[in-house]
């Protein structure tokens, strides 16, 4: 008797569920994915176009479902909508990374010390300025200090004169040094192994001095600059091609730790 009652209740429940209407699990998943992405301010801010495309794709799937379309068609449209949501998420991540590099947010929130607040403004400016510098230059943290290699401070063979392409980058470095009068730099010249017309050591020193003269002309105190020549002893890349030799005729600027 009791068991029969339980079975009856079970059957009634199943009937009630059937009355609630058919469902499409792919469509439900697409709806859930879209709701989560749309509620995520990050996606809405950094990929608004892709989010709208996802919304439109979802609306098509919902219309097809309401119009009693073939379940296969609804599944297909739900698949497209789910993919559009994923595209929006990936695009947001991409755009956010670009935005971070172009204009870094103030770094103050990373500092847990009590000075965080008062330092916020200055640090924000400084980080933006550093990122602007670094977008054109490569800085590498080494045991000697931070080495800034200026890709375009390359020289003609057996010459120590600066090429005009180098001037914009050197001028950025000069700006940076003016803003930070407390930093000293080493200016290190290099020659490539094939440069024999003059002594490679003299040539490398002359190159460093060309950069030094430019920086001094830009108003940097000569006392802050130390020039050195390394000859061909420290190539940046193995010297096995014309291009690599060109890369080794260079000046590196080390911000001293």
């Amino acid at each position: 008797m009791e068991r029969a009652l339980v079975i009856w209740i079970g059957l009634l429940t199943a009937g009630a569920l059937a009355c609630a209407g058919p469902v499409n699990s792919d469509l439900e998943r697409a709806e859930a994915e879209y709701r989560a992405a749309a509620a995520d301010a990050y996606v809405a801010d950094y990929a608004p176009t892709q989010l709208r495309e996802a919304e439109a794709a979802l609306a098509r799937a919902q219309r097809a479902f309401r119009a009693d379309a073939d379940p296969e068609v609804v599944d297909h449209l739900a698949y497209l909508a789910t993919r559009r949501v994923e595209i929006a998420r990936a695009t947001a991540r991409r755009n956010e990374a670009f935005a971070r590099v172009d204009a870094p947010p103030p770094r103050s929130h990373l500092h847990s010390d009590g000075h965080a607040h008062e330092r916020a403004h200055g640090d924000g400016l400084r980080a933006a300025e550093l990122a602007a510098l670094l977008s054109a230059l490569r800085a590498e943290d080494t045991e000697r200090g931070v080495v800034v290699t200026v890709d375009d401070v390359l020289f003609d063979r057996d010459r120590a004169a600066l090429r005009s392409e180098a001037l914009p980058d050197l001028s950025r470095i000069a700006d940076f040094l003016r803003v930070h009068p407390d930093l000293d730099v080493l200016v290190e010249g290099h020659a490539d192994a094939a440069e024999r017309d003059r002594g490679a050591l003299d040539l490398s020193l002359d190159r460093a001095e060309s950069v030094e003269r430019y920086l001094v002309a830009q108003g940097i105190d000569p006392d802050r600059l130390v020039t050195r020549g390394f000859g061909a002893s420290d190539p940046a890349v193995p010297t096995d091609s014309f291009r690599s030799r060109q890369l080794n005729r260079r000046v590196e600027i080390v911000v001293v730790d």
Binding site: R83, T91, R94, A97, F98, L130, V255
Partner: protein, 122 residues
Amino acid sequence: MPRRLSLCFALAAASAAFGCQTSPATTRAVAQADLAVRDAASGDAPELAPAELALAREKLARAEEARADGDEERARRLAEQALVDAQLAEARSESETAAAAAREVEASVDALQRVIDERVRP
């Protein structure tokens, strides 16, 4: 190339003979998917989003088969799926590349920032 061209003519002739000309909508869907797969393949997707790209390629191939078989509906659906799969492959690989580039620049900024902080400290 001449062989492929003659194959195209043969297919066109066959489909014309059987009266199953591919509709412009299907042709467009397949062409769009093909372009999206090429775009993704020419970037970093082969390395950074291989699964998505492989899926897109597989569906594009099946779409072309379905079109050759005269199954328009199936060809169009597969092409539409291949398109979003390829676009996702491209978006994911680009997000990887951009995030890596951002990390690199931030590491450089941190390095210089440390130098500055040490100098500024009394």
